[in-house]
């Protein structure tokens, strides 16, 4: 008999109820149950940041949370940022500054940069780099990512 637990998670403003195995990771729930595949799995060991989403107001690595821990939580993924076709200031800045190369790390980068600017609306380049410690770009495209973050902050909205 399968061991399943009922959960309800609000993702990008919509409530989703499901029964999950306790060992289901939040990232698996988002990608495989809800088909929100913008969130990526990279290192799978909570180091690379490709899986960063927002949960109850703060960024978390969704490969290092069980879906059952998000029961009752509000989660925002990369799909939940733009309002229809209107990108957030951070998304717009990544586009304008070519803040990506292959794009695999981009969802996590944008979620993290959004939080950096929420916590500090006018960060220095060093503060952006420190804030991105847990997000890796294996194309090593960091300079344009930092430029994008600074441009988003200068735009004064931060997402």
């Amino acid at each position: 008999m399968p061991n399943k637990v009922p959960i309800t998670i609000t993702v990008n403003g919509r409530s989703h109820s499901a029964e999950v195995e306790p060992r289901t990771l939040l990232v698996h729930f988002l990608r495989e149950t809800l088909n929100l595949t913008g969130t990526k799995i990279g290192c799978d060991t909570s180091q690379c940041g490709a899986c960063v989403v927002k949960m109850n107001g703060v960024t978390v690595k969704s490969c290092t949370a069980f879906a059952v821990q998000a029961d009752g939580a509000e989660v925002t993924t990369i799909e939940g940022l733009a309002d229809g076709g209107n990108l957030t200031a951070v998304q717009e800045a990544f586009w304008n500054n070519h803040g990506l190369q292959c794009g695999y790390c981009t969802a996590g980068m944008i979620m993290t940069v959004t939080e950096i600017i929420e916590r500090n609306p006018n960060p220095s380049a060093d503060e952006v780099r420190a804030g991105l410690e847990g997000n890796m770009c294996r194309c090593t495209g960091y300079n344009n990512i930092v430029r994008a973050a600074l441009a988003a902050a200068a735009a004064g909205q931060g997402g």
């Binding site: 306790p22 060991t45 978390v60 949370a65 821990q69």
Partner: protein
């Protein structure tokens, strides 16, 4: 990598969590999950029952009363780093918590979970040992206080009974004439301490009247350094006197009777060489002769 299947139980209160621990020998407590989940995914831990304490509100939060800062076990590293009360009453706690992992890890990882996991590379274990912190552990017959230096017994081994739960971490408020610092060589991906040194010095002008020194990362549990402490006490702190004192660190590690960890990332010999350097950096920062 999937964890092995387990039974999930959510505890609504501290008492319920302790009861569930008593009823399910071998069960594991799930707090922020940043130690337990990786272990389970690598199948290094396969608990049959996992008890989620994440919803117990009174395990979270920071209060300062008199000479003590009380931090709920579920308080995250981010919350500690951002706390104005912590920054005001013990800056080392804020600094050390801001250096753990990365921002998203700090948003989930908890101080109680970090201590209960007892990873040799834990920053908290070393810092809280130097600060003389204690934990309150709740068991079926009540609560008891355990010094952090007694709590961590070996790599991934603590003095907690199987049915005890850390509820609070209590840390002294630093006095106006005390300075405390932590310096570490961090693993470049995980930011875990390869070697970390924590110091608390009590100063009378430039003269150190008392010192507390601990190192970690290179040993299975944090090691206090009484020889270094004695060499610092009563001494005017300069780069030379600090260097003399920290050169005794090896004696303290030998006296503690613990092996120095060597692995693919850093050999035991290398770590032993770096340890006095990190303690020296911490002391130099503490007296303003060096800056982060």
């Amino acid at each position: 990598m999937f964890a092995a299947d387990f039974e999930y139980r959510k505890a609504g209160s501290i008492a319920e969590a302790v009861q569930l621990l008593s009823d399910n020998p071998g069960a594991k407590i799930l707090a922020g999950g940043h130690s337990l989940i990786p272990l389970m995914r690598f199948r290094l831990a396969r608990p049959e029952v996992v008890i989620d304490i994440g919803g117990i509100a009174n395990l979270r939060g920071i209060t300062v009363g008199g000479d003590t800062i009380n931090i709920g076990a579920l308080t995250t590293h981010s919350e500690i780093a951002a706390s104005a009360d912590v920054q005001r009453s013990n800056g080392l706690l804020a600094e050390a918590s801001g250096g753990i992992g990365d921002p998203a890890v700090r948003n989930r990882g908890t101080i109680g979970g970090n201590l209960a996991h007892a990873d040799p590379a834990s920053d908290w274990a070393t810092v809280l040992t130097a600060l003389g912190a204690t934990v309150s552990a709740q068991g079926p017959s009540g609560a008891r206080t355990i010094a952090v230096s007694d709590l961590i017994e070996d790599a991934f081994a603590t003095a907690l009974a199987e049915n005890e739960l850390i509820t609070t971490v209590s840390v002294p408020v630093l006095a106006a004439n005390q300075r405390a610092e932590y310096a570490k060589m961090a693993h470049p991906a995980s930011f875990y301490a390869v070697v970390g040194g924590a110091v608390v010095v009590t100063m009378d002008g430039n003269r150190c009247t008392a010192a507390s020194v601990a190192v970690g990362g290179l040993t299975p549990r944090p090691v206090k350094a009484p020889s270094v402490e004695q060499a610092l006490a009563g001494t005017t702190l300069t780069a030379d006197s600090i260097g003399d004192a920290t050169s005794r660190l090896g004696e303290d590690i030998t006296a503690a009777g613990v092996d120095i960890i060597g692995d693919v990332y850093a050999s035991a010999e290398f770590r032993a060489g770096v340890a006095p350097v990190e303690v020296k950096h911490a002391l130099m920062h503490a007296i303003g002769l060096a800056h982060h």
